[in-house]
């Protein structure tokens, strides 16, 4: 034997007596990290590789490591004697648990060789009888290895054979990761040949027919009949397998059938003939369904119950020549349980597949692929209740399947069922991949009476979007398109969990949380903490010269999810209502009644402005400010800010009276008096500062919305649209609803017009304004160093009093406050910005709820970082 083929993902068990050369063999053929040796594990737990007393602990460690590797899908080699059936049994069980193939390689050297080798090693001074005993055990077990469950057994029965052998890793049959598509994945056909022909035609395939006019193949665009077979994984890996003459911009498409080609319908042989032809020609792939499985058993003469349409198939096939039946038997027998395609981005399996089984091989995997998982219960129609595995699915790969008839295919967590019950009078459906488009043809007639009516096939409404605690908690790493991988610490997630659970709105309406924003660097001007110059300079340093200054409203940040009609929310987000108006931590501003009233008014404004039409969308997500601040923060204003003012207003004048008397009496407290006088003024300025953010509101009366950015709509996000575009839309909303919508004043500046920007800021803040935000006019900007800050806030002197305290302007305080560490805040601002964009993009793409919620939650978690809250 010169060459041993072992599956790329398998558990390789080396079997041989002590001294048979297992470790050398492993070193020669495998990566050091792929091999786990029992000696090494003994050393780990006892500092002595030969300490037999440590064997139990050592094997627990060995099993643990092997389990972790197999769970991660890595080939693993076990270097232990494994001469006893009990020890092998454990390893086979381990392989089965992780659905990988167990492979045995036996190194059977003559006793003398092993004994001599051991004799040369000072640490193996255990007499020849040990080797003899091991060899007897090995010999006894050799014959039974296959029965023990090893998929393949390779016996190397001499030193020469061991030295001569080479090992080749073979690709798993289900591994079509190099097939990148595009594909057209077709649902359960069940003998509906006419509909299949129609569907293929609609998808752009040209059908080839035999002399009797029967379809025997179909190729995309009609030019590819007879392309080289791609179903054989061996051939698929050959370089240059792609056809040469491919029309540009119209790549050749291939069909993937999800199984259940047969039974119930009028022409099972016709369907088989066409599909078998397409698979043979390389125009299609096919996975088996449970009906093929049953049919194969029947064709092989096994006793099966002739139910669920099998009888019709057998009758139809009986009319065919014997060689056709033989071909069918061979075809079905050769079908692979499921395929992993397109670099792992697509998995096709008849009944769906949980993530841990993708690309795995075992009886269990095959059973899942064919029959799915059932809960053991039966429903009122006597059909097995299927375990809703897709609700828990969190994998990266799209999983496409059939098996369960449903009136309309629906995405659940990046999985979709394409069985639309054609044979029951429904339709035959295909999914275009990667376009995610559905194409279907109606059934010509109902060929078979369903066990339960098709329209009740799913529960009323759709499956709930189930969020799991593991979607958000623990340490998390999130890949963002704009800022790389970002990690969230477990304790940050813990804090966010409480806030999200206790205060936030339904996650289905919570598509986005706004990022924090960094202030400008501290101004060198005495008595001024923040000044526009630092914002302009910061952007100039990054090469961003076209800027927009936007007025900072004196309200609360609000995110508005707006729907066009009352049925949009339910259809698009699976939740009744009109949308949401929520805070930067995801809490609703108002109760349901007021929220819906506000959304109704905003909807009217947006419709009047023509926004839904222009952006061609049924929903909109707006970034806005809700005014006044007191509408939301009344308790904070009263209990924190006003209270400070009240205490100051009462205590400082009393102190002044006392100090004035003391000064009059000639005591030396003049400095203290002067300081207290200034503090009295500061306290009044402080009260004046917060009062600007308060005006009475009653219900929605007095409430105003100042939108300044469109965040997302169906299929689109707007971070690349310049702010001029966003503000123009905001202006149109103001024009359409001036009573409710407030404009955001702005000034565009470039390198030459900084002075105008400064003057504008001074004017705004002198009038008591909160300040302004300076942003790159182009919106999202990437510089050489990475993402530019999306905005820098420049707050006014009086506004800062309610942030830094009434007396922050006192020189003794001010000099200490100038030392602000902005680094952390800036880094947080960028990370939250990137996470925000990520959640917007995921939402616009219609990704699963857990994917959107993951990023929204991450923003909240980051916000819990202990950064200076005054920044």
């Amino acid at each position: 034997m010169d060459r041993i083929g072992i599956p790329a993902l398998s558990l390789v068990v080396l079997i041989g007596v002590s001294g048979s050369g297992k470790s050398s063999f492993a070193r020669k053929h495998f990566l050091g990290t792929e091999v786990i040796s029992s000696d090494f594990c003994r050393g780990l737990v006892s500092d002595d590789e030969n300490d037999q007393a440590a064997s139990k602990d050592a094997f627990e460690v060995l099993n643990f490591i092997a389990a972790k590797r197999l769970a991660a899908g890595r080939l693993t080699v076990i270097d232990a004697t494994s001469v006893q059936p009990e020890s092998r049994k454990q390893l086979v069980a381990l392989a089965r648990e992780y659905d990988v193939l167990p492979v045995a390689i036996v190194l059977d050297v003559p006793e003398r060789v092993a004994i001599d080798r051991n004799a040369l090693r000072p640490d193996r001074q255990f007499g020849p009888q040990v080797v003899q005993r091991q060899r007897q055990q090995l010999r006894r077990g050799l014959r039974n290895l296959k029965r023990e469950g090893f998929r393949s057994v390779h016996v190397l029965d001499s030193v020469e054979a061991i030295d001569a052998v080479s090992i080749e890793r073979t690709r798993l049959f289900n591994d079509l990761t190099d097939q990148t598509g595009p594909f057209d994945i077709i649902g359960d056909v069940h003998g509906c040949r006419a509909e299949l022909e129609q569907l293929l035609g609609r998808l752009g395939y040209t059908i080839t027919r035999d002399a009797d006019g029967r379809p025997i193949d179909a190729a995309y665009g009609g030019s590819r009949a007879g392309a080289e077979p791609a179903g054989d994984p061996g051939a698929a890996s050959v370089a240059g397998a792609e056809p040469e003459a491919e029309p540009a911009g119209d790549p050749a498409r291939r069909v993937v059938f999800v199984g259940d080609l047969v039974d119930r319908g009028p022409d099972t042989p016709g369907v088989l003939r066409l599909v078998m032809g397409m698979v043979a020609s390389g125009n299609a792939f096919c996975v088996p369904g449970n009906h093929e499985d049953k049919l194969l058993k029947a064709l092989r003469g096994k006793k099966v119950k002739l139910s669920h349409g099998l009888e019709e198939s057998l009758a139809q096939l009986a009319a065919e020549p014997a060689e056709f039946r033989a071909d069918v038997e061979k075809f079905i027998d050769g079908l692979i349980s499921h395929y992993v395609l397109d670099g792992g981005n697509l998995v096709v399996s008849h009944a769906g597949l949980v993530e841990r089984m993708h690309g795995r091989t075992s009886g269990r995997v095959r059973a899942f692929c064919l029959y799915g998982e059932t809960t053991g219960e039966t429903d009122e129609f006597g059909l097995p209740v299927r375990y809703p595995w897709a609700n828990d699915y969190r994998g990266r790969a799209m999983v496409v399947y059939g098996h369960t008839p449903t009136p309309v295919p629906e995405w659940i967590n990046n999985t979709i069922c394409l069985d639309t019950g054609c044979v029951f009078g429904g339709s035959l459906t295909a999914l275009r991949y990667p376009e995610r488009e559905l194409v279907s043809v109606e059934a010509i007639e109902q060929y078979y009476e369903p066990a339960k009516p098709l329209h009740t096939a799913t529960a009323p409404g759709r499956e709930p979007d189930v969020l799991d605690i593991t979607d958000v908690t623990g340490r998390r790493v999130i890949e963002t398109a704009t800022h790389g991988r970002l990690s969230i610490r477990a304790e940050q997630a813990g804090a966010a969990l409480e806030v999200m659970s206790r205060f936030a709105i339904d996650p289905r309406f919570l598509l986005y949380l706004p990022p924090t924003m960094s202030p400008v660097a501290t101004s060198p001007i005495p008595g001024v903490l923040e000044h526009p110059v630092q914002a302009f300079e910061a952007y100039k340093a990054e090469g961003v010269t076209e800027l927009v200054c936007e007025e900072k409203h004196m309200g609360s940040r609000a995110v508005v999810l707006l729907t066009r009609d009352d049925d949009v929310a339910e259809k698009r987000f699976g939740l009744a209502g009109r949308g949401a108006v929520h805070t930067r931590t995801g809490r609703s501003f108002f109760d349901t009644t007021l929220t819906d009233e506000l959304l109704l008014r905003l909807r009217a404004v947006a419709s009047e402005a023509g926004l839904f039409d222009e952006l061609d969308t049924s929903w909109l997500l707006l970034d806005a400010e809700l005014l006044p601040w007191s509408a939301k923060a009344i308790e904070l204003l009263k209990n924190q800010y006003a209270a400070v003012g009240a205490a100051a207003r009462t205590s400082l004048p009393a102190a002044m009276v006392g100090l004035e008397s003391a000064v009059a009496a000639g005591l030396d407290v003049g400095d203290l008096l002067a300081r207290t006088q200034r503090r009295t003024v500061n306290a009044e300025l402080f009260s004046a500062a917060y009062r600007r953010y308060c005006w009475p509101t009653e219900g929605l009366d007095g409430v105003r919305i100042a939108p300044f950015q469109v965040l997302a709509s169906e299929g689109t996000t707007y971070e690349e649209k310049p702010h001029a575009w966003h503000l123009a839309i905001a202006d149109r909303l103001v024009a359409a609803g001036p009573a409710l919508v407030t404009a955001t004043r702005r000034l565009f500046v470039d390198l030459d017009s900084w002075e105008a920007g400064i003057a504008w800021w001074e004017e705004l803040t002198a009038a008591g304004g909160e300040g302004m935000v300076v942003k790159p006019a182009a919106n999202l900007v990437r510089t050489k160093k990475g993402l530019a800050q999306p905005g820098l806030k420049v707050r006014g002197r009086e506004y800062l009093r309610i942030i830094y305290g009434p007396d922050y302007t006192e020189p003794a305080n001010f000099d200490r406050l100038r030392n602000r560490n902005l680094g952390h805040k800036r880094s947080m601002a960028l990370r939250e910005y990137a996470l925000g964009l990520e959640s917007l993009n995921r939402a616009a793409r219609g990704e699963p709820l857990w994917r959107i919620h993951e990023t929204v939650f991450a923003v909240l978690a980051l916000e819990s970082e202990p950064v200076d809250p005054r920044l």
């Binding site: 206790r502 100051a648 205590s651 202990p866």
Partner: protein, 482 residues
């Protein structure tokens, strides 16, 4: 923060300036001293033979207060540590400063005028901005029994926004004939007690301090229990960064920070106890009812979802028929307190093995809650926003799917029986709703229909013929699989 203490020659029975001897502070020489939180100045606005008034002005340095970590301990890592009333209000910082400034006077020693220390003298005390939890009547209630005539005027929150009403401060004037040392002790204890906010100086000797400062008067005070409780109640706040994180998140929304107070706010009615009809409090009756019910249904693996500080969990652990007790809460802070209360660190292995304590949320499915005999939602659902109740139902009844679920919640019909509860108000500030019996039953029935449970209801507490029991309980039992 500012206060004055004054007397007259008639009141003192000596030249008024002798007050300076008593206080060991020279009326002619203002003095400044570094104290916790800033600098305290002592000076005499007036010092004649007729009248003498000493003033204490504490200039709090808010920035230093934060940097020293004292502000942080009290406020968590929030804006509140930078902008607060400490520089203006007479709180514990002023009490500490008074204690330091007048230490000798408080002992009652005066070598120059020993006769004055033992004699009651007429004193006028003015504390212009005293934070006073319980309002002016509380100041009256605490100072009057000590022999003071009390004039406490509420301070408006903002005179320009009259609709906001009064602040938590009073302008306090005390007049009385007392020994000076006693008067100083009264201030030293009462300022923090009336403030009822956080201490900055909590140490292990706090009880000793109170005993010393309260000597001779606290024992006879009708409100001694209230005073001691408030004085000592403030446990050192956890300064774990993970817990501060929560404060930050909540504050950033502009809502009051006290969402997860160190001292859980008792629900109205929960502390009703002591009379002959209700020998035990409602909270105890509720726990007892739940534990008895769990025994009755023979549950062995049980979970308390929303366990708070773990009072029910402690009771469950005492009964070894509960072989596994799962305790979850959405609040990391509550769990930390629960661990302490349960003394998890010192638990025997056997007991420890029965307990699983972890953070979880009733609005997310959690596989760790699978295979339970019973899950308890005791006074939990009313803390969940109504739109989130379907998520709760799904997580508990659909995903965790225990054999039994015990839910308790207030019966809002019974609220009229609570005299202290204003009409229409909820029993706890965090309640999102309180249901009538019919509303609770409607919800329970719809949950049963959706998830395959049967439900029965029981009263907890005296079942009022008209308005029903104070607490309503529902027992859900999973229907057998078909």
């Amino acid at each position: 923060m500012f206060l004055t203490i004054g007397t007259t020659s008639a009141g003192l029975g000596a030249p008024a300036t002798d007050l300076g001897f008593l206080l060991h502070k020279n009326p002619a020489r203002p003095q400044s001293m570094e104290v916790a939180g800033g600098t305290v100045h002592v000076f005499y606005p007036e010092a004649t033979d007729e009248r003498c008034t000493v003033a204490v002005l504490l200039e709090v340095d808010p920035i230093a207060l934060v940097r020293s970590g004292r502000g942080r301990a009290a406020e968590g890592f929030t804006l509140g540590q930078y902008v607060n009333d400490r520089p203006y209000a007479a709180s514990s910082l002023l009490a500490v400063a008074v204690g330091k400034l007048f230490r000798t006077a408080m002992i009652g020693r005066c070598d120059a005028r020993p006769e004055l220390t033992t004699r009651p003298i007429l004193l006028d005390i003015h504390v212009p901005a005293l934070p006073c939890r319980g309002g002016a009547t509380m100041a009256e209630r605490l100072f009057s029994p000590l022999g003071w005539s009390v004039d406490a005027q509420p301070v408006p929150l903002d005179p320009e926004i009259p609709a906001w009403g009064d602040s938590r401060y009073v302008d306090l004037r005390l007049r009385g004939e007392l020994r000076l040392a006693d008067a100083l002790h009264h201030l030293y204890v009462m300022l923090p007690v009336l403030d009822d906010a956080k201490h900055y100086w909590v140490g292990s000797d706090e009880v000793d301090k109170l005993v010393r400062a309260g000597e001779g008067w606290l024992g006879a005070h009708p409100d001694r229990e209230l005073i001691s409780r408030r004085y000592l109640a403030h446990r050192k706040r956890l300064t774990d960064s993970a817990l501060e994180a929560l404060d930050r998140l909540v504050e950033s929304d502009g809502v009051e920070v006290e969402t997860s107070p160190d001292e859980p706010i008792a629900e109205v009615g929960d502390d009703l106890a002591g009379d002959s009809e209700q020998p035990v409090s409602l909270a105890v009756q509720r726990r007892t009812a739940v534990v008895e019910l769990l025994r009755e249904i023979g549950a062995r693996r049980v979970a308390d979802l929303g366990c708070g500080e773990g009072v029910l969990v402690a009771q469950l652990l005492k009964d070894s028929s509960f072989t596994e007790v799962v305790a979850t809460d959405v609040s990391a802070r509550a769990l930390t307190y629960a661990e302490r209360r349960l003394h998890v660190d010192e638990m025997s292995d056997r007991k420890r093995e029965r307990l699983r304590l972890f953070q979880s949320s009733v609005t997310y499915a959690d596989a760790r809650l699978a295979d339970l005999d019973a899950a308890v939602l005791m006074e939990v659902i009313e803390h969940v926003d109504p739109p989130r109740l379907p998520a709760l139902a799904h997580a508990v009844f659909g995903a965790a799917r225990p054999g039994n679920v015990v839910v308790t919640t207030p019966n809002s019909e019974h609220n009229v029986r609570f005299e202290t509860l204003p009409a229409g108000a909820f029993r706890h500030p965090d309640h999102r709703f309180e249901w009538t019996r019919a509303e609770f039953q409607d919800w329970a029935t719809s949950v049963c229909a959706a998830y395959g449970y049967d439900v029965s209801f029981r009263p907890v507490g005296p079942d009022d013929p008209e308005v029903g029991p104070p607490t309503q309980l529902a027992l859900f039992r999973l229907k057998e699989a078909v």
